[in-house]
Protein backbone atom coordinates (compact mmCIF):
# COMPACT_ATOMS: atom_id res chain seq x y z
CA UNK A 1 0.00 0.00 0.00
CA UNK A 2 1.44 3.38 -0.94
CA UNK A 3 2.00 5.86 1.90
CA UNK A 4 0.17 8.54 -0.03
CA UNK A 5 -2.27 7.86 -2.85
CA UNK A 6 -4.10 10.46 -4.96
CA UNK A 7 -7.07 9.35 -7.02
CA UNK A 8 -8.63 11.63 -9.62
CA UNK A 9 -7.96 14.80 -7.62
CA UNK A 10 -9.74 17.85 -9.07
CA UNK A 11 -9.33 21.39 -7.79
CA UNK A 12 -11.08 24.38 -9.34
CA UNK A 13 -10.79 28.07 -8.63
CA UNK A 14 -13.96 29.50 -10.14
CA UNK A 15 -13.87 28.52 -13.82
CA UNK A 16 -10.21 27.56 -13.80
CA UNK A 17 -9.45 23.88 -13.23
CA UNK A 18 -6.02 23.87 -11.58
CA UNK A 19 -5.79 20.15 -10.84
CA UNK A 20 -7.58 18.05 -13.39
CA UNK A 21 -7.91 14.45 -12.29
CA UNK A 22 -4.53 13.69 -10.76
CA UNK A 23 -3.53 10.13 -9.83
CA UNK A 24 -0.30 9.71 -7.89
CA UNK A 25 1.22 7.08 -5.64
CA UNK A 26 4.03 7.86 -3.20
CA UNK A 27 5.58 4.94 -1.37
CA UNK A 28 7.10 5.13 2.08
CA UNK A 29 10.59 6.63 1.93
CA UNK A 30 10.17 7.76 -1.67
CA UNK A 31 11.10 11.19 -2.94
CA UNK A 32 8.73 12.31 -5.68
CA UNK A 33 9.50 15.47 -7.68
CA UNK A 34 6.79 17.41 -9.47
CA UNK A 35 8.16 19.42 -12.38
CA UNK A 36 6.47 21.66 -14.91
CA UNK A 37 6.06 25.30 -15.84
CA UNK A 38 4.70 27.85 -13.36
CA UNK A 39 0.93 27.56 -13.16
CA UNK A 40 0.93 23.85 -14.06
CA UNK A 41 -0.73 23.06 -10.71
CA UNK A 42 2.26 21.75 -8.71
CA UNK A 43 1.86 24.11 -5.73
CA UNK A 44 -1.91 23.76 -5.63
CA UNK A 45 -1.57 19.99 -5.59
CA UNK A 46 0.74 20.18 -2.56
CA UNK A 47 -1.68 22.54 -0.79
CA UNK A 48 -4.51 20.08 -1.50
CA UNK A 49 -2.53 17.19 0.00
CA UNK A 50 -2.04 19.24 3.17
CA UNK A 51 -5.78 20.13 3.16
CA UNK A 52 -5.00 23.83 2.94
CA UNK A 53 -7.29 23.76 -0.09
CA UNK A 54 -10.39 21.53 -0.12
CA UNK A 55 -10.54 19.40 -3.27
CA UNK A 56 -13.58 19.41 -5.54
CA UNK A 57 -13.45 15.79 -6.63
CA UNK A 58 -11.38 12.65 -6.19
CA UNK A 59 -9.74 11.36 -3.01
CA UNK A 60 -6.46 11.55 -1.11
CA UNK A 61 -5.43 8.55 0.98
CA UNK A 62 -2.82 8.60 3.73
CA UNK A 63 -1.94 5.07 4.88
CA UNK A 64 -5.11 3.93 3.16
CA UNK A 65 -7.39 6.38 4.97
CA UNK A 66 -9.28 8.94 2.91
CA UNK A 67 -8.14 12.24 4.42
CA UNK A 68 -10.06 14.32 1.89
CA UNK A 69 -13.36 13.23 3.39
CA UNK A 70 -15.29 16.46 3.96
CA UNK A 71 -15.93 17.09 7.64
CA UNK A 72 -12.76 15.38 8.74
CA UNK A 73 -10.63 17.25 11.28
CA UNK A 74 -7.90 18.78 9.09
CA UNK A 75 -5.70 19.69 12.05
CA UNK A 76 -4.99 16.06 12.89
CA UNK A 77 -4.01 15.38 9.26
CA UNK A 78 -1.80 18.43 8.98
CA UNK A 79 0.00 17.43 12.14
CA UNK A 80 1.12 14.27 10.25
CA UNK A 81 2.12 16.06 7.04
CA UNK A 82 4.81 18.74 7.16
CA UNK A 83 4.99 21.50 4.59
CA UNK A 84 7.68 24.00 3.66
CA UNK A 85 6.96 27.04 1.50
CA UNK A 86 8.82 28.97 -1.16
CA UNK A 87 8.73 32.16 0.94
CA UNK A 88 9.81 30.44 4.21
CA UNK A 89 6.84 31.96 6.12
CA UNK A 90 8.66 31.98 9.42
CA UNK A 91 6.80 33.87 12.14
CA UNK A 92 8.75 37.13 12.36
CA UNK A 93 7.78 37.89 15.95
CA UNK A 94 9.36 34.69 17.29
CA UNK A 95 12.95 33.45 17.48
CA UNK A 96 13.95 30.48 15.34
CA UNK A 97 13.56 28.20 18.36
CA UNK A 98 10.12 29.62 19.27
CA UNK A 99 9.02 29.10 15.66
CA UNK A 100 9.89 25.44 15.92
CA UNK A 101 8.44 24.99 19.43
CA UNK A 102 5.04 26.51 18.62
CA UNK A 103 3.36 23.49 17.03
CA UNK A 104 4.67 20.87 19.49
CA UNK A 105 3.44 23.08 22.32
CA UNK A 106 0.06 24.00 20.87
CA UNK A 107 -0.86 20.91 18.85
CA UNK A 108 0.84 18.17 20.86
CA UNK A 109 0.32 19.94 24.17
CA UNK A 110 3.95 19.62 25.23
CA UNK A 111 5.54 22.09 27.60
CA UNK A 112 8.39 24.22 26.34
CA UNK A 113 10.82 22.13 28.42
CA UNK A 114 9.47 18.82 27.11
CA UNK A 115 9.67 19.89 23.49
CA UNK A 116 12.96 21.71 23.61
CA UNK A 117 15.59 18.88 23.61
CA UNK A 118 14.23 17.25 20.47
CA UNK A 119 13.86 20.56 18.64
CA UNK A 120 17.31 21.71 19.73
CA UNK A 121 18.72 18.46 18.37
CA UNK A 122 17.16 19.23 14.98
CA UNK A 123 18.76 22.69 14.97
CA UNK A 124 22.03 21.09 15.87
CA UNK A 125 21.78 18.50 13.11
CA UNK A 126 21.21 21.08 10.41
CA UNK A 127 24.00 23.35 11.63
CA UNK A 128 21.69 25.96 13.17
CA UNK A 129 22.41 25.50 16.87
CA UNK A 130 24.06 28.91 17.12
CA UNK A 131 21.07 30.63 15.46
CA UNK A 132 18.28 29.25 17.66
CA UNK A 133 17.69 32.48 19.55
CA UNK A 134 17.86 34.68 16.47
CA UNK A 135 14.83 36.36 14.92
CA UNK A 136 14.07 35.46 11.29
CA UNK A 137 14.98 38.88 9.89
CA UNK A 138 18.55 38.38 11.17
CA UNK A 139 18.95 35.10 9.26
CA UNK A 140 20.08 34.54 5.69
CA UNK A 141 17.55 33.12 3.23
CA UNK A 142 19.19 29.68 3.37
CA UNK A 143 19.15 29.72 7.14
CA UNK A 144 15.52 30.82 7.20
CA UNK A 145 14.52 27.99 4.91
CA UNK A 146 16.41 25.46 6.99
CA UNK A 147 14.66 26.79 10.13
CA UNK A 148 11.34 26.37 8.29
CA UNK A 149 12.25 22.74 7.58
CA UNK A 150 13.21 22.20 11.23
CA UNK A 151 9.90 23.79 12.26
CA UNK A 152 8.00 21.26 10.12
CA UNK A 153 10.16 18.35 11.30
CA UNK A 154 9.52 19.24 14.93
CA UNK A 155 6.07 17.71 14.52
CA UNK A 156 7.67 14.38 13.46
CA UNK A 157 5.66 14.29 10.24
CA UNK A 158 5.22 11.09 8.25
CA UNK A 159 5.27 12.93 4.94
CA UNK A 160 6.98 16.19 3.98
CA UNK A 161 5.80 18.50 1.22
CA UNK A 162 8.24 21.06 -0.25
CA UNK A 163 6.85 23.83 -2.41
CA UNK A 164 9.68 25.25 -4.54
CA UNK A 165 11.69 25.84 -1.43
CA UNK A 166 14.80 27.05 -3.24
CA UNK A 167 13.14 29.42 -5.72
CA UNK A 168 13.44 32.48 -3.47
CA UNK A 169 17.08 31.85 -2.60
CA UNK A 170 20.27 33.32 -4.01
CA UNK A 171 22.00 30.64 -6.13
CA UNK A 172 24.89 30.20 -3.68
CA UNK A 173 22.41 29.40 -0.86
CA UNK A 174 20.48 26.72 -2.78
CA UNK A 175 23.03 24.00 -2.03
CA UNK A 176 22.73 24.17 1.77
CA UNK A 177 18.96 23.66 1.55
CA UNK A 178 19.13 20.80 -0.95
CA UNK A 179 21.69 19.09 1.30
CA UNK A 180 19.04 18.98 4.00
CA UNK A 181 16.66 17.21 1.61
CA UNK A 182 19.30 14.61 0.79
CA UNK A 183 19.86 14.01 4.50
CA UNK A 184 16.13 13.50 4.99
CA UNK A 185 16.00 11.09 2.09
CA UNK A 186 18.79 9.07 3.66
CA UNK A 187 16.70 8.80 6.81
CA UNK A 188 13.82 7.40 4.84
CA UNK A 189 11.49 10.39 4.93
CA UNK A 190 8.60 10.27 2.47
CA UNK A 191 8.74 13.49 0.46
CA UNK A 192 6.92 15.27 -2.35
CA UNK A 193 8.65 18.27 -3.95
CA UNK A 194 7.50 20.84 -6.42
CA UNK A 195 10.77 22.04 -7.90
CA UNK A 196 12.56 23.81 -10.72
CA UNK A 197 15.89 22.25 -9.76
CA UNK A 198 16.10 19.72 -12.62
CA UNK A 199 19.63 18.66 -11.72
CA UNK A 200 18.59 17.85 -8.19
CA UNK A 201 15.45 16.01 -9.31
CA UNK A 202 17.45 13.92 -11.74
CA UNK A 203 20.06 13.08 -9.10
CA UNK A 204 17.90 12.47 -6.02
CA UNK A 205 14.28 11.70 -6.98
CA UNK A 206 12.83 8.20 -6.98
CA UNK A 207 10.07 9.31 -9.29
CA UNK A 208 9.53 12.45 -11.37
CA UNK A 209 6.11 13.68 -12.59
CA UNK A 210 5.74 16.24 -15.34
CA UNK A 211 2.61 18.38 -14.93
CA UNK A 212 0.93 20.60 -17.48
CA UNK A 213 -2.46 22.31 -17.21
CA UNK A 214 -3.35 20.41 -14.04
CA UNK A 215 -2.62 16.98 -15.43
CA UNK A 216 0.27 14.58 -14.98
CA UNK A 217 1.46 14.21 -18.56
CA UNK A 218 4.22 11.75 -17.86
CA UNK A 219 5.82 10.08 -14.84
CA UNK A 220 8.66 7.69 -14.26
CA UNK A 221 12.11 7.22 -12.77
CA UNK A 222 14.36 10.23 -13.42
CA UNK A 223 16.68 8.46 -15.82
CA UNK A 224 13.71 7.60 -18.06
CA UNK A 225 11.89 10.93 -17.77
CA UNK A 226 14.99 13.05 -18.28
CA UNK A 227 16.88 10.57 -20.45
CA UNK A 228 14.16 9.33 -22.77
CA UNK A 229 10.91 11.22 -22.30
CA UNK A 230 8.08 9.66 -24.26
CA UNK A 231 5.64 12.51 -24.47
CA UNK A 232 6.32 15.40 -26.88
CA UNK A 233 5.11 17.95 -24.25
CA UNK A 234 7.70 16.62 -21.80
CA UNK A 235 10.42 16.79 -24.42
CA UNK A 236 9.45 20.36 -25.28
CA UNK A 237 9.45 21.42 -21.61
CA UNK A 238 12.81 19.79 -20.90
CA UNK A 239 14.30 21.28 -24.03
CA UNK A 240 13.23 24.76 -22.88
CA UNK A 241 14.33 24.28 -19.28
CA UNK A 242 17.64 22.49 -19.76
CA UNK A 243 18.86 24.62 -22.67
Amino acid sequence: MPKLALRGVVKRFGDATVCDGIDLDVDTGQMVCLIGASGAGKSTLLRCINLLEPIDDGAIHLDGTDISEPGLDPQAVRARIGMVFQSFNLFPHMTALENALLAPRRVLGKSREEARPEVAALFDRFGLAHRMDTYPDQLSGGQQQRVAIVRALAMRPEVMLFDEITSALDPQLVGEVLDVLLALKDEGMTMVLATHEMGFARQAADKVCFLKDGKIIEEGPPETLFGAPEHPETRAFLARTLK
Binding site: N50, P74, Q75, R78, G82, F85, L102, A103, R106, V107
Partner: protein
Protein backbone atom coordinates in the same frame (compact mmCIF):
# COMPACT_ATOMS: atom_id res chain seq x y z
CA UNK B 1 41.14 62.08 7.90
CA UNK B 2 40.47 60.83 4.37
CA UNK B 3 39.95 63.42 1.65
CA UNK B 4 36.27 63.63 0.67
CA UNK B 5 35.43 62.21 -2.71
CA UNK B 6 34.09 64.43 -5.48
CA UNK B 7 30.57 63.17 -4.78
CA UNK B 8 30.84 63.82 -1.01
CA UNK B 9 32.01 67.38 -1.63
CA UNK B 10 29.08 67.96 -3.96
CA UNK B 11 26.57 66.53 -1.50
CA UNK B 12 27.99 68.57 1.38
CA UNK B 13 27.58 71.72 -0.69
CA UNK B 14 23.99 70.74 -1.52
CA UNK B 15 23.21 70.17 2.15
CA UNK B 16 24.64 73.56 3.13
CA UNK B 17 22.55 75.18 0.42
CA UNK B 18 19.27 73.56 1.59
CA UNK B 19 20.04 74.46 5.19
CA UNK B 20 20.55 78.10 4.28
CA UNK B 21 17.35 78.22 2.24
CA UNK B 22 15.28 76.47 4.94
CA UNK B 23 16.78 78.63 7.68
CA UNK B 24 16.31 81.94 5.97
CA UNK B 25 12.75 81.21 4.83
CA UNK B 26 11.81 80.19 8.39
CA UNK B 27 13.31 83.38 9.79
CA UNK B 28 11.48 85.43 7.17
CA UNK B 29 8.08 83.90 7.94
CA UNK B 30 8.57 84.25 11.70
CA UNK B 31 9.69 87.84 11.31
CA UNK B 32 6.65 88.58 9.17
CA UNK B 33 4.34 87.14 11.86
CA UNK B 34 6.08 88.95 14.70
CA UNK B 35 6.17 92.28 12.88
CA UNK B 36 2.92 92.20 10.90
CA UNK B 37 0.42 90.72 13.34
CA UNK B 38 0.94 93.42 16.02
CA UNK B 39 0.39 96.01 13.28
CA UNK B 40 -3.19 94.83 12.88
CA UNK B 41 -5.58 97.42 14.34
CA UNK B 42 -7.20 95.01 16.80
CA UNK B 43 -3.96 93.48 18.07
CA UNK B 44 -3.91 95.25 21.42
CA UNK B 45 -7.40 94.08 22.24
CA UNK B 46 -6.72 90.55 21.06
CA UNK B 47 -3.53 90.46 23.07
CA UNK B 48 -5.33 91.68 26.19
CA UNK B 49 -8.11 89.15 25.92
CA UNK B 50 -6.22 86.06 24.67
CA UNK B 51 -2.64 86.52 25.87
CA UNK B 52 -3.00 88.19 29.24
CA UNK B 53 -0.03 87.21 31.40
CA UNK B 54 -1.69 88.01 34.74
CA UNK B 55 -4.79 86.01 33.90
CA UNK B 56 -2.65 83.13 32.67
CA UNK B 57 -0.58 83.08 35.85
CA UNK B 58 -3.74 83.03 37.96
CA UNK B 59 -5.43 80.40 35.86
CA UNK B 60 -2.59 77.92 35.38
CA UNK B 61 -2.59 76.24 38.84
CA UNK B 62 -6.34 75.65 38.68
CA UNK B 63 -6.15 74.46 35.08
CA UNK B 64 -3.41 71.99 35.96
CA UNK B 65 -5.51 70.74 38.87
CA UNK B 66 -8.44 70.24 36.55
CA UNK B 67 -6.21 68.52 34.01
CA UNK B 68 -5.66 65.73 36.51
CA UNK B 69 -9.31 64.85 35.94
CA UNK B 70 -8.54 64.49 32.23
CA UNK B 71 -5.57 62.28 33.02
CA UNK B 72 -7.69 60.13 35.32
CA UNK B 73 -10.49 59.61 32.80
CA UNK B 74 -7.91 58.88 30.10
CA UNK B 75 -6.08 56.41 32.30
CA UNK B 76 -9.08 54.17 32.88
CA UNK B 77 -10.64 54.58 29.43
CA UNK B 78 -7.60 53.73 27.29
CA UNK B 79 -7.09 50.12 28.52
CA UNK B 80 -10.83 49.45 28.29
CA UNK B 81 -10.81 50.75 24.71
CA UNK B 82 -7.89 48.50 23.76
CA UNK B 83 -9.63 45.40 25.13
CA UNK B 84 -13.10 46.15 23.75
CA UNK B 85 -11.66 47.28 20.39
CA UNK B 86 -9.80 44.00 20.03
CA UNK B 87 -12.88 41.96 20.97
CA UNK B 88 -14.99 43.83 18.43
CA UNK B 89 -12.35 43.31 15.74
CA UNK B 90 -12.28 39.58 16.47
CA UNK B 91 -16.08 39.41 16.53
CA UNK B 92 -16.23 41.05 13.12
CA UNK B 93 -13.75 38.56 11.66
CA UNK B 94 -15.37 35.50 13.22
CA UNK B 95 -16.00 32.85 10.56
CA UNK B 96 -17.90 30.17 12.43
CA UNK B 97 -21.64 30.23 11.61
CA UNK B 98 -22.51 29.94 15.32
CA UNK B 99 -20.84 33.30 15.79
CA UNK B 100 -22.84 34.98 13.03
CA UNK B 101 -24.87 37.06 15.55
CA UNK B 102 -21.55 38.26 16.96
CA UNK B 103 -20.45 39.42 13.49
CA UNK B 104 -23.70 41.29 12.99
CA UNK B 105 -23.31 42.84 16.41
CA UNK B 106 -19.72 43.85 15.67
CA UNK B 107 -20.67 45.42 12.36
CA UNK B 108 -23.63 47.30 13.87
CA UNK B 109 -21.48 48.45 16.76
CA UNK B 110 -18.78 49.97 14.55
CA UNK B 111 -21.34 51.51 12.21
CA UNK B 112 -23.26 53.17 15.00
CA UNK B 113 -20.45 54.43 17.15
CA UNK B 114 -18.34 55.65 14.25
CA UNK B 115 -21.39 57.30 12.72
CA UNK B 116 -22.48 59.39 15.70
CA UNK B 117 -20.49 62.45 16.78
CA UNK B 118 -18.71 61.74 20.08
CA UNK B 119 -20.42 64.64 21.81
CA UNK B 120 -23.86 63.21 21.01
CA UNK B 121 -22.88 59.82 22.37
CA UNK B 122 -21.55 61.51 25.51
CA UNK B 123 -24.82 63.40 25.97
CA UNK B 124 -27.13 60.50 25.20
CA UNK B 125 -25.32 57.96 27.35
CA UNK B 126 -24.15 60.42 30.00
CA UNK B 127 -27.61 61.79 30.74
CA UNK B 128 -29.79 59.05 29.24
CA UNK B 129 -28.71 55.94 31.09
CA UNK B 130 -28.52 57.59 34.55
CA UNK B 131 -31.99 58.97 33.78
CA UNK B 132 -33.33 55.42 33.88
CA UNK B 133 -33.20 55.70 37.66
CA UNK B 134 -29.86 54.21 38.65
CA UNK B 135 -28.92 54.87 42.28
CA UNK B 136 -25.77 56.75 43.19
CA UNK B 137 -22.90 56.25 42.67
CA UNK B 138 -23.87 54.17 39.63
CA UNK B 139 -25.38 57.13 37.81
CA UNK B 140 -22.13 59.12 37.96
CA UNK B 141 -21.32 61.12 34.82
CA UNK B 142 -17.75 59.85 35.17
CA UNK B 143 -18.91 56.28 34.61
CA UNK B 144 -21.32 56.89 31.76
CA UNK B 145 -19.29 59.61 30.11
CA UNK B 146 -16.26 57.32 30.13
CA UNK B 147 -18.41 54.54 28.71
CA UNK B 148 -19.45 56.82 25.85
CA UNK B 149 -15.78 57.48 25.06
CA UNK B 150 -14.95 53.80 25.39
CA UNK B 151 -17.73 52.75 23.00
CA UNK B 152 -16.88 55.38 20.40
CA UNK B 153 -13.15 54.85 20.46
CA UNK B 154 -13.49 51.05 20.53
CA UNK B 155 -15.32 51.27 17.23
CA UNK B 156 -12.38 53.10 15.63
CA UNK B 157 -9.74 51.05 17.38
CA UNK B 158 -11.50 47.84 16.27
CA UNK B 159 -11.27 48.94 12.63
CA UNK B 160 -7.56 49.66 13.03
CA UNK B 161 -7.04 46.24 14.60
CA UNK B 162 -8.90 44.71 11.66
CA UNK B 163 -6.68 46.47 9.18
CA UNK B 164 -3.73 45.16 11.20
CA UNK B 165 -5.11 41.64 10.99
CA UNK B 166 -5.56 42.04 7.24
CA UNK B 167 -2.01 43.33 6.93
CA UNK B 168 -0.60 39.99 8.13
CA UNK B 169 0.15 38.08 4.94
CA UNK B 170 -2.10 35.09 4.32
CA UNK B 171 0.96 32.90 3.87
CA UNK B 172 1.54 33.31 7.62
CA UNK B 173 -1.85 31.74 8.28
CA UNK B 174 -1.12 28.98 5.77
CA UNK B 175 2.18 28.20 7.46
CA UNK B 176 0.55 28.08 10.88
CA UNK B 177 -2.32 25.91 9.66
CA UNK B 178 0.07 23.54 7.89
CA UNK B 179 1.67 22.89 11.29
CA UNK B 180 -1.69 21.69 12.61
CA UNK B 181 -2.74 24.79 14.56
CA UNK B 182 -6.48 25.43 14.73
CA UNK B 183 -8.05 28.77 13.77
CA UNK B 184 -8.02 30.10 17.31
CA UNK B 185 -4.36 29.25 17.79
CA UNK B 186 -3.46 30.70 14.39
CA UNK B 187 -5.12 33.95 15.41
CA UNK B 188 -3.72 34.11 18.92
CA UNK B 189 -0.15 32.92 18.34
CA UNK B 190 0.62 34.02 14.81
CA UNK B 191 -1.72 36.68 13.43
CA UNK B 192 -2.56 38.89 16.42
CA UNK B 193 0.96 39.48 17.72
CA UNK B 194 1.98 40.72 14.28
CA UNK B 195 -1.25 42.64 13.70
CA UNK B 196 -0.98 44.49 17.00
CA UNK B 197 2.63 45.39 16.34
CA UNK B 198 1.78 46.67 12.87
CA UNK B 199 -0.87 49.07 14.15
CA UNK B 200 0.92 50.53 17.16
CA UNK B 201 1.61 53.88 15.41
CA UNK B 202 -2.01 54.23 14.27
CA UNK B 203 -3.24 53.38 17.74
CA UNK B 204 -0.90 56.01 19.16
CA UNK B 205 -2.82 58.55 17.10
CA UNK B 206 -6.08 57.26 18.56
CA UNK B 207 -4.66 57.76 22.06
CA UNK B 208 -3.78 61.34 21.20
CA UNK B 209 -7.30 61.96 19.89
CA UNK B 210 -8.79 60.34 22.98
CA UNK B 211 -6.67 62.53 25.22
CA UNK B 212 -8.31 65.56 23.61
CA UNK B 213 -11.85 64.16 23.49
CA UNK B 214 -11.83 63.48 27.24
CA UNK B 215 -12.76 67.16 27.44
CA UNK B 216 -16.16 66.35 25.95
CA UNK B 217 -17.12 64.90 29.33
CA UNK B 218 -17.24 68.47 30.59
CA UNK B 219 -20.64 68.76 28.92
CA UNK B 220 -22.18 66.35 31.40
CA UNK B 221 -20.66 67.73 34.59
CA UNK B 222 -17.04 66.82 35.35
CA UNK B 223 -14.98 69.96 35.83
CA UNK B 224 -11.98 69.01 33.71
CA UNK B 225 -9.59 71.45 32.14
CA UNK B 226 -11.86 72.76 29.38
CA UNK B 227 -14.75 73.46 31.79
CA UNK B 228 -12.39 74.98 34.34
CA UNK B 229 -11.03 77.26 31.61
CA UNK B 230 -14.62 78.22 30.72
CA UNK B 231 -15.39 79.08 34.33
CA UNK B 232 -12.26 81.23 34.58
CA UNK B 233 -13.10 82.80 31.24
CA UNK B 234 -16.52 83.96 32.40
CA UNK B 235 -15.12 85.03 35.74
CA UNK B 236 -12.46 87.22 34.15
CA UNK B 237 -14.28 87.94 30.88
CA UNK B 238 -11.01 86.97 29.23
CA UNK B 239 -10.16 84.13 26.85
CA UNK B 240 -6.63 83.62 28.15
CA UNK B 241 -7.64 80.59 30.30
CA UNK B 242 -8.56 78.80 27.07
CA UNK B 243 -5.10 79.54 25.72
CA UNK B 244 -3.71 78.13 28.97
CA UNK B 245 -5.77 74.95 28.53
CA UNK B 246 -4.54 74.67 24.94
CA UNK B 247 -0.93 74.98 26.13
CA UNK B 248 -1.45 72.14 28.61
CA UNK B 249 -2.86 69.93 25.84
CA UNK B 250 0.00 70.81 23.51
CA UNK B 251 2.57 69.99 26.18
CA UNK B 252 1.19 66.43 26.13
CA UNK B 253 0.14 65.96 22.52
CA UNK B 254 3.15 67.40 20.69
CA UNK B 255 5.65 64.96 22.20
CA UNK B 256 3.12 62.15 21.77
CA UNK B 257 2.52 63.07 18.13
CA UNK B 258 6.24 63.27 17.43
CA UNK B 259 6.67 59.86 19.01
CA UNK B 260 3.85 58.38 16.90
CA UNK B 261 5.42 59.85 13.76
CA UNK B 262 8.76 58.41 14.75
CA UNK B 263 7.19 54.96 15.17
CA UNK B 264 5.50 55.29 11.77
CA UNK B 265 8.74 56.28 10.08
CA UNK B 266 10.61 53.42 11.72
CA UNK B 267 7.94 50.98 10.60
CA UNK B 268 8.09 52.23 7.01
CA UNK B 269 11.85 51.77 7.08
CA UNK B 270 11.53 48.23 8.39
CA UNK B 271 9.11 47.28 5.67
CA UNK B 272 11.03 48.74 2.77
Amino acid sequence: MPTPTRRERYEAAQRRRSLIIAGSSTVLVLAAIIVLVPMAPGWDKVKASFFNGDVLAQAMPRLLDAFMINVMIFAWSAPAIAVLGLLIALARDATSPALFPLRIFGAAFTDIFRGVPVILTVYLIGFGIPGLGLPRPWNSPYIWGSLALILTYSAYVAEIFRSGIDSVHHSQRAAARSLGLNERQVMRDVVLPQAVRNVVPSQMNMLIALQKDVSLLSFIGPVEVFRQAGVLKSLTANFTPYVGAALIFLAITIPATRYADYLMARQRKERS
